[in-house]
């Protein structure tokens, strides 16, 4: 083969590889179920106009079940997004925040911090890390915040989802391949129903052993450093809940967070159920999560917190985005999505 032919074949080989990667990428995207609720909703997040969000609310299911940004917007005009995942650990949250800050520059980051007493790995790494957009942050999450046995699947979506060829409908495939669009949930998931045995509470949550807690605290430190580097105020909060960490544990957390970074603001609302306007027998889906009505009340209360305590002021929005948020408010005022039990 002469030199010219070698170069030509090399170019074709590269082209073939690119085509193969493109096809595999498209197939992976098509077969991975579209995620619209219960956290890790990166598609709609990426559909938000750049630098349009006033705040980001991070955490686990306690965040995405309790905070409805549409209600906060209606109360205050603040735009925000709940970027949380089920049982999301703080090591995963760190990578979430890094990724989130690539398209948004929020005026505040609020972290629901129950994950300080989560285990190193919880049960939903496949969802939390798997749905991160492809890139260095995802790689970081795969190798530092995921169980080793899940890494193959996290790096290669088809490993988890290839057998969906049997069940996926054409519509599902098409919507998986569609470009991301902002939705009206803004990361919030409404759950309906009340917890009948709430009268037996409040209940105490399990506390992790010291080493696990210290590792989680280190991850919180990384989150705080990232916020500090970007000049974004960070608030660490515990929502009003009937699944509480013991009060002395929460006090220890308050002290540890203050030691970590004096600029982190800490708010423990664990026992402020009534103060937030919540009626335990009506507003808890289970001891840890608020139902739709509870989340609406709590979110309105949070609006005051964000504008008052945190001093946030709504940033200017384009007419198009303001209309989209107004539509979101209307959507929720008319009842929101179908009942989720």
């Amino acid at each position: 083969m002469n030199r010219k032919a070698v170069v030509r074949e090399f170019c074709f080989a590269v082209l073939f590889l690119l085509l193969a990667v493109l096809l595999i990428g498209l197939t992976s995207t098509a077969l991975r179920p579209v995620r619209t609720n219960y956290g890790a909703v990166w598609g709609p997040y990426l559909g938000e106009p750049e630098d349009s969000l006033d705040y980001l609310w991070l955490g686990s299911s306690y965040a995405y079940c309790d905070v409805n940004p549409a209600v906060i917007y209606d109360e205050t005009g603040l735009t925000g997004y709940v970027l949380a995942g089920p049982e999301q650990t703080l090591s995963q949250t760190y990578w979430y925040l890094r990724q989130a800050l690539e398209t948004q520059r929020p005026s505040a980051v609020v972290l629901e911090a129950s994950a300080l007493h989560f285990a190193k790995y919880q049960n939903y790494t496949q969802v939390n890390v798997g749905y991160l957009p492809a890139g260095l942050n995802k790689l970081g999450a795969v190798f530092t915040a995921s169980e080793p046995e899940l890494r193959t699947g996290l790096l290669f979506d088809l490993y988890f989802y290839h057998s969906r060829w049997k069940t996926a409908t054409f519509g599902e495939l098409r919507s998986a391949l569609a470009p991301p669009l902002a939705d009206q949930c803004k990361g919030y998931t409404a759950v309906d129903g009340v917890f009948d045995a709430i009268g037996d509470g409040p209940f105490l949550r399990d506390v992790q052993e010291e080493a696990v807690y210290r590792a989680n605290l280190e991850d919180l430190g990384r989150i705080a450093s990232l916020c500090a580097d970007r000049g974004i105020p960070l608030a660490v909060v515990f929502h009003p809940t009937y699944s509480q960490l013991p009060s002395q544990v929460r006090e220890a957390i308050r002290a540890d967070v203050a030691d970590l970074d004096a600029h982190i603001r800490f708010f423990d609302w664990s026992e402020e159920v009534e103060a937030a306007g919540l009626e335990p027998s009506l507003h808890f889906y289970d001891p840890g999560h608020l139902n739709r009505a509870g989340a609406a009340l709590f979110s309105a209360w949070l609006g005051d917190f964000l504008t008052g305590e945190m001093g946030l002021v709504p940033r200017p929005q384009t007419g198009e985005n303001a209309a989209a948020w107004a539509e979101t408010v209307r959507f929720w005022q008319e009842g929101g999505p179908a009942v989720t039990e």
């Binding site: 193969a20 096809l23 197939t27 988890f160 057998s163």
Partner: protein
Amino acid sequence: MSFLSPGFFLFFPLVTLFYFLLPQRARNLWLLVSSWYFYLCAGAGSFLFLLCALTLTYAGARFLEGQSGRARRRVLTLLLLLLFGTLFLFKYLGFALSMLERLLSAAGLSFTSPALELILPAGISFYLFMAAGYLIDVYRGNRPAERSFLLFALFLSFFPYLLSGPIGRADTLLPQFREPHRFSYDGFRSGLLRFLWGAFKKLVIADRLGMLVTTVYAAPDQFGRLQVIAAAAAFSIQIYCDFSAYSDMALGCAQVLGFRLMENFRTPYFSRSIGEFWRRWHISLSSWFRDYLYIPLGGSRRGRMRTYANLLIVFAVSGLWHGSALAFVAWGLLNGLYQVIGGLTADLRTRVRGRLGLTEDGRLTVLLQVGITFLLSTVAWVFFKGGSFTHALFIFQNMFTGPWLTHPVTAWGLDRPELVVAFFTILLLLAVDLASLRVDLWTGFLRLPRPLRWALALSLTLAVLICGIYGTGYDPQDFIYFKF
């Protein structure tokens, strides 16, 4: 490390890249280090055993070469006893003791065989047979003992065939390790395509059919007789796809690196007799038994009865090679018996064909013979897969008793979409195997127009990735022949 493990997809490109980047004199050392790393993934114990086996064989062959007459024979016997004795210890001692226990119990004597916890080193049956073949070649004066330990170690440990063959021969492999290998783009592409085709056969066909076979064979009395018969036929295809897939991947890897390994399969299910089937199935093992057991036993040179006896011995041993259980011996013997009966009835069958007006090589005759050969081998595979002699008989019993079908028909390990995929991929396999009778698929592929070539390669890749049986929630199936 399996060819289909994520680690291998990192290992193999790196091995290939550095192999061609390194200067010629360092390449064999690189291949040896890589092969040993590949084998170390099977466990340090296995690796130490490989080291012992190759050191013994290397030194033994050097010593053997210097001997003559009876001493030469005694040295060979000792070396073979050491090799096969170790194989016996790891693979057959438990079986032998359990047989002894059964025999003594039948005679009214009490003996409980101890529970042995020996772990069979991966690939032991393959590389010990290579070592034994090499020693016999040296003993016969067919080849000199290898002077270079590096080359000899590589001959026995080369990763493409180390775990499951093909069982290579020194006369074809050792010279290749001495030759310089320049990168061949055609060899690279053909090798990768062959690897991909192997992955397709294993992940898309074999493992899919495996789910059906495992479900039905686990409780054959829960299924209709047609389903049990279909499962038996499915296993015939499964084991062919599984083992020939491994061989394709081994040959493909070797081809990428510029090496030629012995072909292990030549469309065996197109054979017109069981004898021919064994000349086209696991060729490296069949030819090993031919050269190192059947011919030394006298082959076909000592009369008809002795020929048949030799055949039965060879196939019984071949059965034992596959596994230490009576069912494997039965499987081997049955294959031998088919050939004995075939030999005894050859004239009769010729006369019957004549009466029926079937010409010797007519299309209908060939079709009938191929069908009957498939049927006979399928019957034998029931013993192979059955796990035990009694369970195999239970499977046969359920082919002839009970309802024809149980409902729902799809509740047998494969649902409807899976069955559709299985059906069409088997059709594709048939088409490719038929085409391989006429053209060399791997070089023929390179002559296709580029768009067609790309379309085929990309379709095959996507078929493996989408329809392959792998990934989460699935217990990855080892290659069936890994066990041996």
